[in-house]
């Protein structure tokens, strides 16, 4: 693994495979034990720095660090000095003085985690940067799909909804393709990014396309990013054309959603409660995958340090 995880493109296919294998073999099992803790990252410090609201990402990163025995500090922007006008750079320099090993960063602006990486000695993990990327979401989605389908090569997925504002879509289009999946984007023209064709996915404007895929990936309508512009003629019209319910699905089709769900907007109530969706499996996968990321980012940098510090006879302990 690279020093930082800022984009899904920081991960090679081999990184994907080994992270998913670690998550499965080590960390899914751990969650089922009575004692859900291992000493692996004892004495390490992880700072979760969140400038945007989050439930599952911040909870799962915190729990992941704690289950690996790291010391985890949560900094929420609205209750920190950022609220007093401190610049991002000064906040990062301040936190860096505590010598954290990892900073997990969420920020409303694209590229903020990369900017932080330039001002800290810690590993930086992007936990969502505005309309940029959300690489650990992609990993957990791929993990959930592998659990459900096994081999992902040739599997067809439709990503449906507010693609324009979705960092999840941006990471997942690249990540799904890296796993050999075929990606279709289904959205009204106003919710597609400009030059969406360049992402390498087929583009459709109707839920009819769901008939041609195995997996339906629903995105949250990001109303908070719609202010001051009309991306859809009206929410009611969007719902009438793009809200997905069980009637749009066929036997065996599975539905994913990164959460939080807007019931009645992108997903019908009944579907949100049905066993056809993998939403809670995704949440469980998120914990295992984030443990794997924290573990591997530390392990791999230690391995690199060893390689560069000269030869040593490797004997088995």
């Amino acid at each position: 693994m690279n020093r930082h995880l800022l984009s899904i493109n920081d991960l090679s296919r081999a990184d994907f495979d080994s992270l998913l294998a670690t998550a499965e073999k080590d960390f899914l099992e751990l969650s089922q034990r009575d004692i859900k803790k291992v000493p692996t990252l004892r004495g390490r410090t992880i700072i979760d720095l969140f400038y945007e609201k989050s439930t599952r990402t911040s909870t799962s990163f915190e729990l992941a660090g704690k289950r690996l025995s790291a010391d985890v500090i949560n900094v929420k922007a609205d209750s920190s000095s950022a609220g007093k006008g401190e610049s991002l750079k000064d906040t990062v320099l301040t936190l860096n003085a505590y010598r954290p090993d990892i900073i997990v960063a969420r920020h409303p602006h694209v590229g903020a985690p990369a900017f932080m990486a330039a001002h800290t000695a810690a590993h930086v993990i992007n936990a969502g940067d505005g309309m940029g990327e959300h690489p650990t979401q992609c990993l957990l989605d791929v993990f959930s799909l592998k659990q459900a389908y096994g081999d992902l090569r040739g599997l067809r997925v439709a990503i449906v909804g507010d693609i324009l504002h979705s960092r999840v879509a941006r990471s997942n289009i690249a990540g799904f393709q890296k796993m050999g999946m075929q990606v279709a984007l289904v959205a009204p023209p106003g919710l597609l990014p400009r030059r969406a064709e360049a992402l390498g996915a087929a583009i459709f404007h109707s839920l009819d396309e769901l008939a041609n895929v195995e997996v339906v990936y629903l995105l949250r309508m990001q109303k908070e990013r719609h202010e001051g512009a009309n991306f859809v003629p009206s929410l009611r019209e969007y719902i009438s054309h793009f809200c997905v319910g069980r009637r749009h699905l066929r036997e065996g089709q599975r539905v994913l959603h990164p959460g939080p769900v807007n019931r009645g907007v992108e997903i019908e109530n009944e579907l949100a409660d049905s066993s056809e969706n993998l939403i809670l499996q995704q949440v469980e996968a998120g914990l295992a995958v984030r443990m794997a990321v924290l573990y591997r980012i530390i392990i791999d940098s230690a391995a690199v340090a060893k390689e560069t510090s000269g030869p040593r006879l490797t004997t088995r302990v």
Partner: protein, 189 residues
């Protein structure tokens, strides 16, 4: 550059007899067989554990539970060395993971590994076991004790004592993983 000499120190037939003897020794210890379980440390310890349990079932006619322990999360050298157990370059990484299909509370656990060296793996394995429950006792069975302990750990059952230098390597090869049974000594010349 100097070469590496490889010498077979224990051939297949002798290795088989050694495992049979360890199985007998475990049973001879006057233990309550109903509380006995065998737990092998990945990779070769797990295969040895399966063989030992199989033999003990044969000798006693009783079921002996077998488990497997992956200690990579319990190693004491995570920072110093990086993981030796994860090989990211493999296209399909080996799926391992701890598998203990029985409760270990109150059991006599015979921990099994192929080579006992510094003792750090065993320390990690004991720590890992305690996260799954409270065994009545833990005993240690190893195929080879090569010395150079760095911790106060001693085996209860030893297949063969092989005094070695730090530079030498002992490789236990098992038919399940390596296609054949033998113990070889590798030395830099």
């Amino acid at each position: 550059m100097s070469g590496v000499s490889v010498k077979t120190v224990v051939p297949a037939d002798q290795l088989g007899r050694t495992i049979v003897r360890i199985a007998h020794e475990i049973l001879e210890r006057d233990q309550d067989i109903s509380q006995l379980a065998v737990v092998g440390i990945y990779t070769r310890g797990a295969h040895l554990a399966r063989r030992l349990a199989g033999l003990m079932e044969e000798f006693t006619g009783r079921d002996i539970p077998v488990g497997e322990l992956d200690i990579s999360l319990y190693r004491d050298d995570v920072a110093a060395r990086g993981s030796l157990t994860i090989r990211p370059k493999l296209p399909h990484p080996e799926l391992r993971g701890t598998h203990l299909p029985f409760g270990i509370d109150g059991k006599t656990i015979v921990l099994v590994d192929d080579v006992l060296f510094t003792g750090r793996t065993i320390r990690a394995a004991i720590d890992a076991l305690f996260d799954y429950g409270r065994p009545a006792r833990i005993q240690l069975a190893v195929l080879v004790d090569r010395g150079h302990r760095e911790l106060p750990i001693r085996p209860d059952y030893v297949g063969k004592n092989l005094p070695t230098s730090q530079e030498e390597r002992i490789n236990v090869r098992l038919s399940e993983v390596d296609g054949e049974d033998e113990i070889v000594l590798e030395a830099v010349e």
